[in-house]
């Protein structure tokens, strides 16, 4: 006895798309909207961000391997923006988009060189877990956009 319609998590006030979980086998749907975290520039926030990201990922029905990659991606984004940022809060937006996950993150910077050799290891890792990523400085803020594509 199984009724896939019951797997929706929509509540009384939300008329948005359903977020069926992995066990129900429903179609992969786009999530309810972006989630923003504004985090103090403290290395300990890395784990807080990973926890939030993995909650979102499991909601979106990502596989265990995909969740691991998303955790790596958000951690690298934070390494770049905390270790090379100006010590001000870091904004991280995670959104389920059609083909996967998009991470947009930024923080105020004093001096920031997107081609700094110290960023090479982070970029290599981001390149390994993301379909694409881009780091640039704009209006006194370093900004990173990383896109992860789901395998299903």
């Amino acid at each position: 006895m199984s009724d896939p319609n019951l797997s929706t998590t929509g509540g009384p006030t939300t008329g948005g798309p359903t977020t069926g979980g992995p066990t129900t086998g429903g179609p992969t749907t786009v999530g309810p909207g972006p989630v923003l975290l504004r985090l103090p520039a403290d290395p300990a926030m890395s784990r807080v961000l990973r926890l939030a990201a993995s909650g979102l990922a499991s909601l979106a029905g990502l596989s265990v391997d995909e969740i691991e990659d998303l955790k790596i991606a958000v951690s690298e984004v934070l390494v770049v923006l905390i270790e090379h940022g100006g010590g001000k809060p870091v904004d991280v937006t995670i959104e389920v988009v059609g083909e996967g996950f998009q991470i947009d993150a930024s923080t105020e910077v004093i001096e920031f060189d997107p081609d700094d050799p110290d960023l090479r290891l982070c970029r290599t890792v981001l390149g390994g877990v993301c379909a694409s990523h881009e780091i640039h400085v704009d209006d006194g803020r370093a900004r990173i956009r990383a896109v992860m594509v789901r395998s299903h």
Binding site: M1, S2, D3, L6, S7, T8, T9, G10, G11, T19, G20, G21, P22, T23, T24, S58, L59, G61
Partner: protein, 106 residues
């Protein structure tokens, strides 16, 4: 046991004895899933809900249980909460609603 409904944090199954077996977290997203499992099973017999595997419950989950209890009372029967753990016990205690149910501990 047959799978009834779930989301990524909650699963509801129907036990071979007709009990409703809940596992995971009963929150705002889980309350409606639980409601949907409870309603078609309401009759003049005690409604048995096994909560042994429930690791989190908030007022949304409790509300489902309380409403089931209220409906059960109007049918002259009760809701039995089986094998509740400390998380469920704490919420029943805080809200003073333990006596709305027949409760057995985990």
């Amino acid at each position: 046991m047959s799978e009834f409904a779930s989301n990524d944090a909650l699963s509801v199954q129907i036990g071979d004895d007709g009990s409703i077996v809940v596992a995971g977290e009963i929150d705002m997203a889980g309350g409606p899933v639980l409601d949907a499992a409870i309603t078609p099973r309401e009759n003049d017999q005690p409604l048995v809900i096994d909560l042994a595997q429930v690791s989190f419950i908030d007022s949304s989950g409790l509300r489902s249980l309380l409403e089931a209890s209220r409906r059960a009372h109007t049918r002259g029967t009760v809701v039995q909460l089986r094998h509740i753990g400390p998380e469920v016990a704490r919420l029943l205690e805080i809200t003073g609603t333990t006596d709305q149910f027949e409760v057995t501990l985990r």
